[in-house]
């Protein structure tokens, strides 16, 4: 079954890219430090704004800091915000959306009101205000804020799906059998939403990476933290585009784009994983034996 998931080339490429960035986030900083001897914060005053080449494979910035080391360190920051933001956002979406759809009635009215409230709130200004108010905006705070304000759309989708599943005969049948509400939600309804939740999670992850980059671009970030967002912000402040310093903004921008693409590619395969019917529908490729000699071929 797992292999069926990995059979599609899109999924394989997506998983490979995501795995690469995860590994980069975990082991990258250690590798650049011990193998290449590069430190993202060390100022090389002999090489200010140097283009790629020599001791700095991706060049340096205005402080003479190595860009490769910065991208690698930024991967850790961005992936951390992405994952934490997605986990928080998806968890809230599940906790609010699924019970709303499943139980209906007053529970739904209350939870749906909450969802709608968050749906119409202008998120970005609010995040800016909250981030400004919380002053010590470390990456964790940023991730939590992004997750906390970004769950409403997902909750809405899950509510609609849970609503349709809650009225299906198999849920009625299990309820008649005496299953309790919580078990019905988690054993009967939720497994049908895994595909949706997984793709929501990946979307939320891209969203959080981008939101972090966006916030950093607007100056809402911890100035000492390194992430792709702060790198792009640095490039913007020094008008790198006008000065043709492409190595300041292309590597982090490309990384963000790559993660987005990878998540989308993985999404193609998830649907199949979550739905055993689709799983069975995939034709098993049968290797054909060599064409048998045609019966009476000569004639």
């Amino acid at each position: 079954m797992r292999t069926a998931f990995l059979r599609s080339w899109k999924v394989r490429i997506g998983v490979a890219i995501l795995a690469f960035f995860l590994l980069l986030a975990v082991f990258g900083p250690w590798l650049t430090h011990s193998v290449l001897g590069l430190d993202p914060r060390a100022n090389d005053t002999t090489a200010i704004s140097r283009s790629p080449g020599g001791g700095h494979p991706l060049g340096t910035n205005q402080f003479g800091q190595d860009m490769l080391a910065q991208v690698v360190a930024g991967a850790r920051g961005s992936m951390y915000v992405g994952l934490l933001g997605a986990v928080v956002g998806t968890a809230i979406a599940i906790v609010v959306g699924v019970p709303a759809g499943f139980y209906g009635g007053k529970v739904d009215a209350a939870l749906n009101f909450l969802t709608n409230l968050f749906l119409v709130m202008p998120t970005l200004p609010l995040i800016m205000i909250v981030a400004g108010y919380l002053q010590g905006t470390g990456l964790t705070t940023i991730a939590l804020i992004i997750g906390f304000f970004g769950w409403s759309g997902g909750a809405r989708t899950l509510r609609a799906q849970a609503m349709s599943i809650a009225n299906r005969d198999f849920v009625r049948a299990m309820r008649m059998l005496g299953e309790r509400g919580r078990r019905l939600v988690f054993a009967e309804v939720l497994p049908h939403l895994t595909g949706l939740i997984a793709s929501m999670f990946l979307h939320a992850m891209i969203g959080a990476v981008m939101a972090e980059a966006g916030l950093a671009f607007l100056g809402i970030s911890d100035s000492s933290a390194i992430s792709w967002g702060t790198m792009i912000q640095g490039a913007q402040q020094q008008s790198a585009v006008l000065r043709g310093l492409w190595w300041w903004f292309v590597p982090p921008g490309l990384c963000i784009a790559l993660i987005g693409t990878a998540a989308a590619l993985v999404n193609f395969g998830i649907d199949e994983l979550a739905n055993p019917k689709l799983r069975a529908a995939r034709p098993v490729p049968v290797r054909r034996a060599k064409q048998p000699a045609r019966a009476g071929g000569a004639a």
Partner: protein
Amino acid sequence: MSKPVAEAASAADRRARQPEAAQAPEYVLEARDVSKHFTVRGALGRTSVVRAVEDATVRLRPGQILALVGESGSGKTTLARMLARFHEPTRGEIVLRGEPLSGSRRARRTYHSEVQLIFQDPFGSLNPLHRVRYNLDRALRLHHPQLSAAEREERMTQLLERVSLTPAAEFAAKFPHELSGGQRQRVVIARALAVEPRVLLGDEPISMLDVSIRLEMLNLLQRLRTEDGLALLYITHDIASARYLCDEIAVMYAGQMVESGPKEDVIASPQHPYTKLLIESSPDPERGVGDREVFFAGADELGEPPSLIDPPAGCRFHPRCPFAMQECLEQAPPRTELGGGHWATCWLHAKGRAGELADTTHAAATAARRDALQGA
């Protein structure tokens, strides 16, 4: 409009029940004069009430199979769902072993350990993400918590063998999509049986199945009745299968019960024009090919079932009935006891015109009525 008559009818019914209850074995499950009204909201916020079931009475004895027949939309399924407690009746009560129901969760659990519903669609009533084993295991865990894992396993094998899904171990490991419709329905039945119920409600349990395996399923239900003394409410629109399986037939039309009685009496001499129409429209291989003209001459003008939001006044069947009289348009017909537990609600009996029913066919009567109307 029909209140006084309906009340009189149900009072007569109650009187009839008292002496009967004393001698006959206890009814295991009864629905007493239950009604279900649904409120629907239109696009403009206008609400209307759908009278899906009105004053229906169903009584089931242990070991008895009662067939509930009627066309689509006549309230059969709503009645079954009330008996399965998916809907609470708007009026009337449901009585299990002589005790009315309470709404507590525990009472509900006890109720469902005695009464189980088999859904019409075996493709919808099994969660596609759970194996057969999970379904049976949950039923056993919930209703027989004292069993150990090994005992549950043994019980599961017995259940699967009971519904002829062998080898049991192989079927237990399958997902629903790996099973055929008939096999799925047998899993559904096995899951219901795991509870060890006293009553099974079959909501058209064979209508979604391939014709070739329907008989097998009917025989399975028959066997459950004879071996375990299960009471079965068999809902169908197929008179032939009802005749094959059941002991008694109750006929519903537009939410009301119009006739009920032992199956041979009802099928051989229907005492309500609708029952007659129903029986004559079911294919009968013994009927000669040449008779077709006689039977189906008026088939095009048999009319549509009435709206349940705004049902016809008087007898609900009168717009389609070839025997309709002035009374039928104005007043609901009284219930007439015909002996042997056979009864019908039709004005023909009150007016002494019952003989007309046996002499003609529905189609012929319709044709004759049309000619008469055109002549006038």
